[in-house]
């Protein structure tokens, strides 16, 4: 059910990727994602897939977790492929009535689908190897320079960390509500999308009210422990770039620059 969802989950480990500074990984995440969209030849896509596979191997995360994150978006991929294949004009491969499948469309659809797969794999690789708390620490430290401009970096990072803390709790709560509804004869799994959506609406009331109450109580608990908005805070996690981080940053940046270079030449 809901808890089968693996996207955005951290898998504990001690691999090289786990040890990298979150800021380094954020940078790599950005570079790799942009590269997957900039590369237009299959050779390029192949190259970046190779890099990604190596990284996946390095992460020591079981292959099934990587695959499970693709499983979730399966329908999106098929839809992307079909929409492109039938909507882009070009050489007709075959046609059913007014629907015409073109070679160009198929190619474009396939490329886009592969890119989506790449992005999903890259993002989930990042989340599998970066603990939420390190991530929010990384974001906080990256936003620090903006503090002077009035951007509440520390608050944003705290918000993120709280959100991460409560995702499992809210998923649990959703599951509990589904069960309670089913136990009272609620039919939530059959019928078309509209019917299902309508049968879920009564569940939103307790879900929202529960969340509001939770937020209220949490705010109180935070205040009780001396939290003040805008107060000077120190951090339990001190981020420090290691030599490995510098190497990775250097290598990824040079590769990225080279890639941009080839586009302009």
């Amino acid at each position: 059910m809901l808890s089968d969802l693996r996207v955005g989950q951290y898998i504990h480990g001690k691999s090289l990727l786990h040890q990298l500074d979150p800021r380094t990984k954020l940078w790599c995440l950005m570079v790799l994602s942009m590269a997957s969209f900039m590369l237009e030849t299959w050779l390029g896509i192949g190259a970046i897939s190779l890099v990604l596979l190596t990284l996946m191997k390095l992460s020591q995360v079981q292959l099934k977790w990587h695959l499970s994150s693709i499983k979730v978006i399966w329908p999106v991929l098929v839809l992307t492929l079909l929409l492109n294949a039938f909507s882009i004009p070009g050489t007709t491969l075959f046609g059913i009535g007014s629907l015409i499948l073109t070679t160009e469309g198929l190619k474009a659809g396939l490329l886009l689908a592969v890119r989506i797969v790449l992005i999903i794999l890259i993002t989930s690789l990042f989340s599998f190897t970066t603990s939420p708390i390190k991530l929010s620490g990384g974001v906080e430290s990256l936003l620090k320079p903006f503090n002077k401009l009035g951007l509440p970096g520390a608050e944003l990072a705290l918000m993120m960390s709280i959100a991460l803390r409560f995702i499992p709790t809210i998923v649990e709560e959703g599951e509990r509500l589904l069960r309670a509804a089913q136990a009272r004869g609620g039919d939530l799994t059959s019928g078309n999308l509209l019917k299902r959506a309508r049968s879920l609406t009564p569940l939103l009331i307790p879900l929202f009210l529960g969340s509001f109450r939770r937020a209220d109580e949490l705010a109180l608990a935070m205040e009780a422990r001396g939290y003040q908005v805008g107060g000077r805070r120190t951090s339990f996690h001190e981020l420090k770039l290691q030599s490995m981080d510098y190497w990775v940053l250097l290598f990824s940046s040079i590769s990225f620059l080279a890639l941009i270079g080839t586009r302009f030449i």
Partner: protein
């Protein structure tokens, strides 16, 4: 209702967890069955099998002799007959008014108009919530009232079997007492009750039958009197009811057996003292 060799394994990211092992259990019409055990023993998981919300990984759950997970069996029918009140049920109100929430279940089973109104009215009457509450928001009621409205939401299906997961948790003592009386009243009216409870004193006052669950296995079952007075609950991380402790220390006897309830202890002590006085 019957469990035959039921196993349930919970699949998670980590290693699989065997929550239930070798469960063999029969629930008879007219039972008041208490399910006790330390937390994590699998009590709530067992309850979820009673209306088919969970499917055993191994073994069968039978309702009047038919396996509830066969194709022909209508789980929806079963869920109408097995009313389930979850822990802290006031967190699961499915409506903005008492009427809306209590009518949720009967509406789902196709009741309309006068029939629906009658079902709601009857359910509220059974839990002792006055009619003028119908248009009120269930969220604004007191703790005890909320719990009773939640119960009405289950009773509105007119279930044969009432399943309650820690029904009195979080209530203050007077409301706790009221709620137990209410459950006993419903039981008298012919509803079969299965209840998970952590409060041993509560279980011993209610009587009926008791099943002890420990690490997914049934380690004891029998009448509550047998289980409470003959078994060593401490072995399973449970406390003895206060009265049973007292009864053991003083060897109190009521009608030839060990005492179980407060009233029995009172008579037992008076008898014992009376005997002493005569000597």
């Amino acid at each position: 209702m019957e469990f035959r060799d039921v196993h349930y394994t919970y699949l998670q990211t980590g290693p699989e967890v065997k929550v239930l092992k070798d469960i063999n259990l029969s629930i008879f019409s007219g039972d008041f069955l208490s399910l006790i055990g330390s937390s994590g023993a699998g009590k709530s998981t067992l309850l979820l099998h009673l209306n088919g919300l969970l499917k055993p990984t191994q073994g069968k759950v039978l309702y009047k002799g038919t396996d509830v997970h066969t194709k022909d069996f209508k789980l929806k029918e079963l869920r109408r007959k097995v009313g389930m009140l979850f822990q802290y049920p006031e967190n699961n109100f499915f409506g903005q008014t008492v009427y809306e929430d209590v009518s949720y279940a009967p509406k789902n089973s196709g009741k309309q108009g006068k029939d629906l109104e009658r079902a709601v009215g009857l359910a509220l009457e059974r839990v002792g919530v006055p009619k003028n509450y119908l248009s009120r928001s269930p969220f604004g009621l007191s703790g005890g009232e909320k719990r009773r409205v939640a119960l009405a939401g289950v009773l509105a299906m007119d279930p044969e079997l009432l399943v309650l997961d820690e029904p009195t948790a979080g209530l203050d003592p007077t409301h706790r007492q009221q709620f137990i009386l209410l459950m006993q009243e419903l039981h008298k009216q012919g509803t079969t009750v299965v209840m998970v409870s952590h409060e041993m004193d509560q279980v011993s006052e209610i009587g009926g039958r008791t099943v002890v669950l420990e690490q997914g296995r049934i380690v004891a079952q029998g009448t509550t009197r047998q289980v409470m007075t003959e078994c060593d609950l401490c072995n399973w991380g449970l406390d003895l009811p206060e009265i049973v402790k007292l009864g053991r220390s003083l060897s109190l006897v009521y009608r030839g057996g060990p005492v179980l309830t407060e009233a029995e202890a009172l008579e037992g002590i008076l008898q014992q003292r009376g005997g002493k006085g005569a000597k």
